[in-house]
């Protein structure tokens, strides 16, 4: 059966990759919790991931919040349900759109840069050099990035939540003629801790996935500039797909009871 062969081979390759990736992740995580912890490097990564992503993060959030209010209005007006707009905006942003969009934007920005940087270090033998200087590359390169990703993404998403809700607020007040204090009161009364918390948990997981993919593909890149290019693409694509996939499962974990 020659049709089954390629399927089987693909499946085996998939299993092998999943195995290598799990080992890589376990190794990176175990170095993240064992001393020495390089605070200096972690801080630098946090600034890179967090601070420098703020413009992208904020502009994504504000336009998303704005369009959400506008779309809900045009839809809900048919059922005379316009008053539900603040509720829709805040729940959609905190639960789904904040973490997912921030995750995807950061994957494009940070995941790519990480894969390129580590990939270049690999092909120019800088990772070998680290090793010979008695510094574990997992400890020095991977662990600080994982820690920074896991801790910074929730902060970014929290900011995105606030800016996104603000975007919806602006459109509702100035374009759709809502009463500002009623809009705010509806928002605050409706949103629950669990909405925000689930979004922040997602953010932490996405931060891990983005940095893991950046490090993994960079670390294993080979073959010069072309290899680094491929690593960069793979890091972004795989992180994006994993984000959407894990998003479903985390949502199910939180809300499908």
């Amino acid at each position: 059966m020659p049709i089954l062969q390629p399927i089987g081979r693909t499946f085996l390759i998939f299993l092998a990759t999943a195995g290598r990736l799990s080992l890589f992740a376990a190794n990176g995580l175990s170095h993240s919790v064992r001393p020495p912890i390089y605070m200096r490097l972690i801080t630098r990564q946090m600034i890179d991931i967090g601070y420098y992503s703020l413009p992208v993060d904020g502009s994504t959030a504000i336009f998303t919040g704005m369009v959400l209010a506008l779309q809900s209005y045009t839809g809900f007006a048919r059922f005379a349900a316009e008053s539900a707009i603040p509720n829709v905006v805040v729940v959609s942003i905190t639960r789904e759109l904040g973490p997912v969009l921030a995750g995807l934007m950061v994957a494009g920005r940070v995941g790519a840069a990480m894969a390129a940087e580590i990939g270049t270090m690999r092909v120019t033998e800088q990772i070998d050099a680290l090793d010979t200087l008695a510094t574990n590359p997992f400890k020095y390169l991977v662990a600080p990035r994982l820690i920074a990703g896991i801790t910074t993404l929730p902060l970014l998403v929290f900011v995105a939540d606030i800016i996104g809700v603000f975007g919806g607020y602006v459109v509702s007040i100035y374009k759709l003629g809502f009463n500002p204090s009623i809009y705010l009161k509806n928002t605050i009364d409706f949103v629950e801790v669990e909405d925000v918390a689930s979004g922040l948990v997602k953010a932490a997981v996405f931060g891990f996935l983005i940095t893991l993919m950046g490090c993994y593909h960079g670390y294993n890149s080979k073959g010069g500039a072309q290899g680094v290019g491929a690593a960069t693409t793979n890091a972004v694509v795989s992180a994006s797909i994993l984000i959407l996939c894990f998003n479903y499962f985390i949502t199910e974990m939180f809300f499908a009871r």
């Binding site: 033998e125 070998d128 050099a129 008695a134 020095y140």
Partner: protein, 263 residues
């Protein structure tokens, strides 16, 4: 002049080392000894596996088979903690310097001191500047980024980094390639000094016979995956080995056929 006597302690002992990349056999049963305090130079054509040999000893590449002993301790297949300990004995100059381009030059040189030995950054910077001076570079260069250096300057910074922690064993992969003749000789002197003053054991790779004659106690020639000749540097002109003769005189005619024809 060689401190090597029969039965002297071997710093590095390699037996039956094999390494292939796919179908391509690079090292094919290589044996090599380096005694304590000895300076051995490996010569051989481009692409014969000299860099691969160094990387196997450092554990950056895993040999397919064979044994590598450092101070009598088998290092092939060592666990990560033991490997860390063994690696602290080494300094390595990479063929392409492999400087960290995210760090300024001085921090590259001080890297082993700060990360490996936990030295204070200000003290480490002082040492780094001394080491840079030893390779003919000023303190100002220390503040530059590696991307702002010429090829020869990068090589010298790599050299300064390799010797900064005063390691017991230092590997030099083509230390003088890309340097002008005068700086090349300064580097040769520096390597000799490392051996004499630090008592370091060195294993160097070079194509530069003048450099080999100056720094080597012993020369070993790598050809076809094996060491085909090894002996004191003084004997190199009378080795009686056609391969060695061809190599040291740089003749196109001889037993070593470079694959330059398209047939």
């Amino acid at each position: 002049m060689s401190p090597r006597t029969n039965g002297a302690a071997q710093k590095i002992q390699i037996r039956g080392l094999h390494k292939s990349f796919g179908p391509k056999v690079v090292l094919d049963g290589l044996d090599l000894d380096v005694a304590v305090g000895e300076s051995v130079v490996v010569i051989g054509g481009s692409g014969t596996g000299k860099s691969v040999l160094l990387k196997c000893i450092l554990g950056l590449l895993t040999p397919d088979s064979g044994s590598i002993k450092i101070d009598g301790e088998e290092v092939v297949g060592l666990g990560s903690r033991d490997r860390d300990r063994v690696l602290r004995k080494f300094g390595m100059l990479f063929q392409n310097a492999a400087l960290f381009d995210s760090l300024p030059v001085w921090e590259n040189v001080a890297f082993g001191l700060i990360q490996g030995e936990g030295m204070d950054r200000t003290d480490a910077k002082k040492v780094a500047i001394e080491k840079l001076a030893a390779v003919g570079m000023t303190a100002e260069v220390g503040e530059l980024s590696p991307a702002e250096l010429s090829g020869g300057m990068r090589k010298r910074v790599g050299l300064a980094r390799a010797i900064a922690t005063a390691p017991e064993i230092i590997f030099f992969d083509e230390p003088t390639t890309g340097l002008d003749p005068i700086m090349g000789d300064v580097i040769n002197d520096l390597i000799v000094k490392c051996v004499q003053e630090l008592g370091a054991t060195t294993l160097s790779i070079t194509h530069d016979m003048a450099s080999a004659r100056k720094i080597a106690h012993r020369v070993a020639m790598l050809y076809d995956g094996k060491i085909i000749w090894a002996g004191p540097v003084a004997n190199i002109d009378g080795s009686g080995n056609d391969y060695v003769d061809q190599f040291i005189h740089g003749r196109a005619e001889g037993p070593i056929q470079m694959q330059v024809r398209a047939d």
